[in-house]
Point group: C2
Chain length 250, copies 2
Amino acid sequence: MISVVILGSGNLATHLTQAFLKADAINVTQVYSRNIKSINHLKKKTLITDNLKNLKNADVYIISITDDAIENFSKKLNLNDKLVVHTSGSIPLNSLKGNSFKGVFYPLQTFSKDKSISFKNIPICIESDSNNQLIILDKLAAAISNEVFIIDSKQREKLHLSAVFVNNFVNHLYEIGNSICMQNNVPFEILQPLIKETAKKIIELSPKEAQTGPAKRNDTEIIEKHLTLLTDNQKEIYKLLSASIINTHK
Amino acid sequence: MISVVILGSGNLATHLTQAFLKADAINVTQVYSRNIKSINHLKKKTLITDNLKNLKNADVYIISITDDAIENFSKKLNLNDKLVVHTSGSIPLNSLKGNSFKGVFYPLQTFSKDKSISFKNIPICIESDSNNQLIILDKLAAAISNEVFIIDSKQREKLHLSAVFVNNFVNHLYEIGNSICMQNNVPFEILQPLIKETAKKIIELSPKEAQTGPAKRNDTEIIEKHLTLLTDNQKEIYKLLSASIINTHK
């Protein structure tokens, strides 16, 4: 049994707490939030606190808060010889301060408070400054996911950067597609099968092989026509991405 | 039984021919290609020809060739009082010439020659200048798909434009994500569950609600750091899409 204390109550902290509470091999000893109201509903399942001086003993302390607050937060903890990890894709291991063992426990997925999610197929990227502690992190990750990867801080930074392109930016393109449809009384739902297939296609083909469309064909007539139909902001994005596709596939 | 002649042997023509051959309610009377070798394998299943003067009688003639060739190709057909349709998202109905009835039969999906696909859940957008012929097109579409939509040329143009954003451009962002991973010895496969979830998420949430990431949070520190890790081309795309997200969500 691995005991954990979760520090935070945001999107990821909430989903992690739920997953850990369900896992047989994990004991959620305590959840901390500076805003006790946000974790009040957990009272029946675990200890809760808003006071860092009251932290209980556990094998792993998981800081799951906004990126820029992690370093300062870690300085406030006084957990000598304990394992303290953060859950961020973009913050290096050595941003964690203090005399504890350090680690990273980064589930690479997009989390929304309103949408429940199973961790089983979510890759969890782990890292530690101690090999013994890395084994504990590996067990912790394996208790909720089938996909555990040992990834160092430099690789993780690039992975997170790549995730910005394939998740954040992709979703923004969905948003633009949605607004084009809405402005023209076309139900966006017609595009759902295309969106799903686009994501599925690159499991069998490389993104390079999967590329289609006017820019790939360098079909300037359609490209010019499309540009006349867009707002200024959409036009800029259309131009830049088309040029990049033409350049990559020439 | 609806009889069809398919004119073309590209990606979409090939997939359509396969789907029609399997459908009980459809008889594929003939397939035409100017390059007879590309349809030789269909010999055992239907008639083939490379001569437009030898076209057989059928209810529907489906032109499935490159967009810019459609108009001229339709002028060469002499199919008075027959229904002639094209399969393009971006070409208006009235680009079809001649004295035939005119229509559009546009399956909104991404097709690759090497990847087989079921039409059952692919939306098919139909249009015709004749209500009677539209009913035939509706039956033809319903014989292979559960998702049939009547969409006029103006709506279809916008739908196709939107598809460029959610398919072509999205795939290009996958390609950039892939190259960032490859340059840093991180397996791109780690990102597959994220990619799939990003596409699935917007079935439950609107793209606006689903948006996450540094630009959404206006986290300039991470954005600046990311920019130092990218090539010039990637940097331009990162900047423009981040600015667009910040602007949309402010």
